[in-house]
């Protein structure tokens, strides 16, 4: 059964000190329902991507809690939390998509949420997305893994620190026009280059912040979508893959096999090829991750990702604009919410509602990655 997105909503991303975990979700969920033009009692199930409410806000069992706080307790609908590190949102979206595609449900919500600013060291929590026993123990954290990948990419393919900086610069520039973004401020290559190292060669401004935020989308089958919505956006494919958990076990640490596998499958199912993709939201938790995504998604040959950013091909106005929202880098990275936030931004783009960052697009791709790449979710959306 064909599946369409009929409503989207997101909170702003950032350090939202005055917003609680549950109220963040409510605000995203309500705006998605309002956007879909439905009351909420039509919803048959709710899927929530969340990495670590247990560690961030000391709360587990969040799906039912959130459904209750959203006023849905009377309906008794199933509420399911999905966890795949920072690919939790994308994975929740896929579960929701499959529920509608299979005919099991007609109309559902997929949401993502993270409240990180209540925790004392959010990066420590995010780093539990890598192997505690064999990576964390020896002193590596998540930035360290991406840094090791970045250094080898530079060594092998001649990628420069400046190339990585240009990705951060582009994403900050795009975020200026995104009202939901955390950093609506342009930065220069010099700003990135002079920011301190977090894990050599990655600097502070190569790294996405960790943010509070929640996003939600309403999915429905085609028949309902056409009845309720003038501008449905269709989910042409939503695929997921996993890989060896640690870089210690990957044959080639410069290729994210899970991204390659998920995207190739998505291209095959949707009959849409990389050259037909007009816009993409990719997982730039670190600038090197966006550069390698260009290669693994088939937008550039392996080793030639830097060429795309140097030649402006991924800027707004370029051949394949990437992260017009500002990406994780500048829109913010609300961990479990990010995968849904990407979908929200692409839907806004496909409907032509993106204002100053509008791109003329027919087909859009979202890539959401968990940790250092052991999970990847790829979604292809079309008008």
């Amino acid at each position: 059964m064909k599946v369409a997105i009929i409503g989207v909503g997101t909170t702003e991303f950032g350090e939202l000190w005055d917003k609680s975990f549950r109220s963040l979700f409510l605000s995203a969920g309500l705006s998605a329902l309002e956007d879909a033009g439905i009351s909420g009692k039509e919803i048959e199930a709710i899927y929530i991507g969340n990495m670590s409410a247990g560690k961030f806000v000391d709360q587990e069992h969040i799906a039912a809690l959130i459904a209750d706080h959203a006023g849905l307790a009377e309906f008794g609908i199933p509420a399911i939390r999905v966890e795949n590190a920072d690919a939790s949102g994308g994975s929740a979206f896929r579960q929701a998509y499959m529920a509608v595609a299979s005919g099991m449900h007609d109309i559902v919500i997929a949401a993502g949420i993270e409240k990180v600013s209540d925790a004392s060291d959010p990066m420590e929590v995010l780093s539990s997305a890598i192997d505690q026993e064999w990576e964390r123990f020896v002193g590596a954290n998540l930035p360290a893994i991406y840094a090791i990948i970045a250094r080898l990419h530079m060594h092998k393919f001649g990628t420069k620190e400046e190339d990585l900086a240009m990705i951060a610069v582009k994403n900050h520039k795009n975020a200026v026009h995104n009202p939901k973004a955390q950093f609506r401020k342009e930065i220069s290559v010099e700003d990135v280059m002079s920011s301190p190292y977090v894990a050599e060669p990655l600097k502070v401004l190569d790294c996405a912040p960790l943010s509070d935020g929640a996003s939600a989308v309403v999915l429905a089958n085609e028949e309902i979508a056409k009845r309720l919505c003038d501008t449905p956006v269709y989910v042409k494919a939503c695929t997921q893959a996993s890989d060896y958990f640690s870089i210690q076990n990957r044959r080639d640490i410069l290729t994210f096999e899970a991204v390659v596998k998920a995207s190739r499958k998505a291209y095959k199912i949707s009959k849409i090829e990389p050259k037909d993709i007009n816009i993409a939201e990719v997982h730039d938790s670190f600038t090197i991750a966006e550069l390698i995504a260009y290669e693994d998604l088939g937008f550039a040959k392996k080793g030639e990702g830097a060429k795309l950013i140097r030649e402006g091909e991924t800027e707004i106005g370029g051949r394949i604009p990437v992260n017009t929202s500002g990406g994780l880098k500048a829109c913010g990275h609300a961990v479990g919410a990010t995968g849904i936030r990407q979908i929200v931004d692409l839907v806004i783009q496909l409907r032509g509602e993106a204002g100053k960052r509008q791109v003329n697009a027919e087909n859009a791709l979202a890539l959401n990655i968990g940790g250092s790449g052991a999970t990847a979710v790829v979604s292809i959306l079309s008008r």
């Binding site: 026993e133 064999w134 990576e135 123990f137 020896v138 002193g139 590596a140 954290n141 930035p143 360290a144 840094a147 090791i148 990948i149 250094r151 080898l152 060594h155 190292y197 977090v198 894990a199 050599e200 060669p201 990655l202 640690s246 870089i247 210690q248 076990n249 640490i253």
Partner: protein, 116 residues
């Protein structure tokens, strides 16, 4: 954390990989099942004592963390004490890793040092 450290102590003090007798593959860290042979595999432990080569590295929180490759093809993430670059040769060394607070148990394990 203490039981978790204790359980792994043999593997912290030595570099122990897995070897699958059915297909001849090596894995680090050790595995209970061979991803190639799965249930048909016969997985044994094998100690790695040889020198390694630095494939890539970073400096994080003042520590050098490297991805090191051994002759049998296995790769290990470990701290290196000393100056390295990509391609540097390193050998293992017994070193202090950390402790549970000021009065807590001290953890030791394998780190690497450059071969000069």
């Amino acid at each position: 954390m203490v039981p978790r450290i204790w359980r792994r102590i043999r593997y912290r003090y030595n570099v122990i990989a897995s070897y699958c007798e059915s297909c001849g593959s090596y894995y680090y860290p050790q595995r209970e099942i061979c991803p190639k042979c799965r249930r048909r595999g016969i997985v044994k432990e094998v100690e790695i004592n040889d020198e390694g080569t630095v494939l890539s590295y970073t400096v994080v929180n003042g520590r050098k963390i490297a991805l090191i490759e051994f002759k049998n093809g296995t790769r290990m993430l470990a701290e290196v004490c000393g100056d390295i670059e990509i391609g540097s040769r390193v050998k293992k060394a017994f070193r202090r890793y950390g402790e549970d607070g000021e009065a807590g148990i001290i953890y030791y394990g394998t780190k690497f040092v450059p071969i000069i």
